[in-house]
């Protein structure tokens, strides 16, 4: 981590922690909480896609697995959700390990196609699930809840601690805590041996693999580890809203999240956070636009891919580098004759 990163995280942390003390409207807190949730998902997607170079579109499937397994543990096993969260994360890891073992031996584009199909299969299975389950006594509801989703599994439990007026602050800080952990994990991966391995594999694949760096091994590792926080984000999402549904596997959500990744800047640690902020902010403006909203997203994806494939973070990086190197070069030029 560079000094710039430390300063940036400190500033952002103060803003995020301080926001509830300014007594903002409830809507702002709810949106902030959602921002943390999406930023968590996208930060892990960035690890998989931007750092490890796996073009996986299974992230929403893992997110949904986290959400659904939390909901099921709460509803059918009557578990306190705080115990269910870590289990949901582990289930997400196992799920993604299975996908990874199946798909990661193939090349980039195959991975994209197969992982997008995995999410779609889950969607089809949940939508077609209409059999009454004996686990839901008294009503006819299928095991997954089918197209209408399921609820009635509890929540974070802040309502009991903080009361009905302020429980959202508890939810807000819970989600913020998750995002902080996910960001710390991102930086840790980038600077760990795994991050170095991917850097080596990107810079010189032949040399790296001849030195014994196995692309498959490291890709599988990152793919599985990052699934923990993705599933956890799903679990927290379910706990906050108190319901889950097949909409979490929709193309719309996939598009929304991938826009954050692209607009923010892939492969850069701060990209996802920036992207989530920009897209959610932009979305506020497009709220009234109705169907134009999705058209706007489509056009934006296209424009960014053509003109700014490394996103706003990439643009900032380039501008920053040009400013600093020009300044540096000028100073070096002036300093040289004096020596």
């Amino acid at each position: 981590m560079m000094r710039r990163d430390y300063i940036l995280s400190a500033v952002l942390l103060v803003i995020a922690v301080g926001l509830p003390w300014l007594d903002p409207p409830r809507y702002l807190l709810a949106q902030g909480l959602l921002l943390f949730c999406w930023a968590t998902v996208v930060s892990q997607w960035n690890l998989v896609f931007g750092i490890a170079g796996i073009f996986s579109l299974a992230q929403i499937a893992i997110f949904a697995v986290g959400a659904y397994s939390t909901a099921m543990m709460g509803r059918y096993l009557e578990m306190n959700l705080w115990y269910a969260f870590p289990i949901a994360g582990v289930i997400g890891v196992i799920f993604s390990l299975l996908i990874g073992l199946g798909c990661l031996r193939m090349r980039g584009v195959y991975v994209a196609l197969l992982t997008i199909a995995v999410g779609q299969v889950l969607f089809v299975l949940i939508m077609g699930d209409g059999e009454c389950s004996p686990l839901n006594p008294g009503i006819c509801m299928s095991f997954t809840g089918g197209p209408s989703g399921m609820g009635g599994f509890g929540g974070f439990g802040w309502r009991e601690v903080l009361g009905g007026r302020h429980f959202i602050i508890g939810d807000y800080y819970s989600m913020l805590g998750l995002l902080i952990l996910a960001m710390a994990f991102t930086f840790w991966i980038i600077h760990s041996r795994m991050g170095l391995a991917f850097k080596a594999l990107r810079d010189n694949p032949e040399l790296a693999s001849s030195r014994g760096i196995s692309r498959f091994k490291y890709q599988l590792l990152v793919f599985a580890l990052s699934a923990f926080f993705t599933a956890e984000a799903g679990a927290f999402f379910a706990a906050h809203f108190g319901s889950v549904g097949p909409g979490q596997l929709s193309f719309t959500l996939l598009l929304f999240l991938i826009s954050m990744l692209i607009v923010g800047g892939m492969g850069r640690p701060w990209g996802p956070l920036l992207g989530a902020f920009l897209i959610m902010g932009g979305d506020e403006f497009l709220k009234e636009a109705g169907e134009w909203r999705h058209i706007g997203f489509g056009v934006m994806l296209l424009v960014f891919m053509i003109f700014l494939p490394d996103g706003v973070a990439g643009l900032i990086d380039r501008v920053w580098r040009r400013l600093t190197t020009r300044g540096g070069a000028a100073r070096a030029g002036k300093a040289a004759p004096a020596e």
């Binding site: 980039g108 584009v109 997008i116 089809v124 991938i258």
Partner: protein, 293 residues
């Protein structure tokens, strides 16, 4: 026995529809390594084109098919000049183009939603009635039309690719882009032609699909995924393989939905294909692994 006949009849029908869209996708990938995510929306557009031709303009029903084919080809050209044209040979082209065409598809799909609304329409270009029984299984005229249209177009595509100058140019580009360029093949023009051809096939595929279901803006999403699975199974860029794989996937899906339940068709396909790809990562019909960087 009736189950078997039922599986073959509906499997061939599904397979014919998948083949038309999968072959186009495979052709596009083979020529310029572009996985066209807008392909599904072109299918939907094709179905809407017949609707426009018959309901809005008032053409006779049989004119609507060529109308939709021309429309599809034009849309293909537009897709090329909106995305591929600007992005070819840039860094991370193979992944970026997927996202860019995804964006285009999203625009087209939501454009349709904006213009026509989400209400399902019936496809005007269809035939009714049962042609006869095989065993105890009724065979619709509709299925027969689907088989015939798919077969005719596949043969026409085969002749185009093997017997004509334009087809030879397309194959030359698919085999070796730089080599073709050095031999004086106008590569950029070939790219446009390929995307026009693929989109034309997609439009027809969309029309055929909408005769069995309904016309809705997002109708292309599911067939597109199936077509992707088909070309993965065949090996990307293998056109003849895509044809066989489409029929195979159609039969597997028909077996799963006939013997088990309709909603298990797709999951079963996916599991079968992933197992097949673990066994042969280059695809069932991929003879040589062509690694393009």
């Amino acid at each position: 026995m009736d189950y078997l006949i039922q599986i073959i009849v509906s499997g061939l029908t599904l397979g014919s529809m998948y083949a038309l869209s999968a072959v186009g996708l495979s052709l596009v990938w083979g020529s310029f390594n572009c996985l066209n995510m807008a392909h599904g929306s072109v299918m939907a557009l094709g179905a809407y084109f017949t609707l426009i031709a018959v309901d809005s303009i008032g053409f006779p029903v049989w004119v609507s098919l060529p109308f939709a084919m021309v429309g599809g080809a034009l849309v293909g050209t537009a897709v090329y000049y909106l995305s591929v044209h600007w992005m070819l040979n840039t860094r991370n082209y193979e992944t970026n183009i997927i996202i860019a065409t995804f964006g285009i598809g999203m625009v087209m799909e939501n454009g349709l939603l904006k213009i026509f609304g989400g209400y399902p329409y019936a496809q005007p270009l269809t035939v009714q009635g049962v042609a006869g029984l095989i065993g105890n299984v009724p065979v619709n005229y509709r299925s027969i039309v689907i088989w015939v249209v798919a077969a005719v177009l596949m043969v026409a595509l085969g002749l185009l690719l093997t017997r004509t100058r334009a087809g030879r140019a397309i194959r030359a580009v698919a085999q070796n882009r730089d080599g073709a360029k050095l031999m004086g093949v106008p590569v950029a023009r070939v790219y446009v032609q390929v995307l026009m051809l693929a989109s034309l096939l997609a439009a027809v595929s969309g029309i055929l699909i909408s005769t069995t279901l309904q016309i809705v803006p997002y109708m292309g999403a599911n067939p597109l995924l199936k077509a992707f699975i088909v070309i993965c199974l065949a090996g990307l860029g293998n056109i003849l393989g895509a044809l066989y794989a489409a029929l195979l996937v159609g039969l597997v899906e028909a077996s799963a939905s006939t013997l088990w339940a309709p909603q298990y068709g797709f999951p079963v396909i996916l599991v079968v294909v992933i197992l097949a790809l673990i066994w042969r990562p280059e695809g069932l019909f991929g003879r040589v692994m062509v690694a393009r960087q």
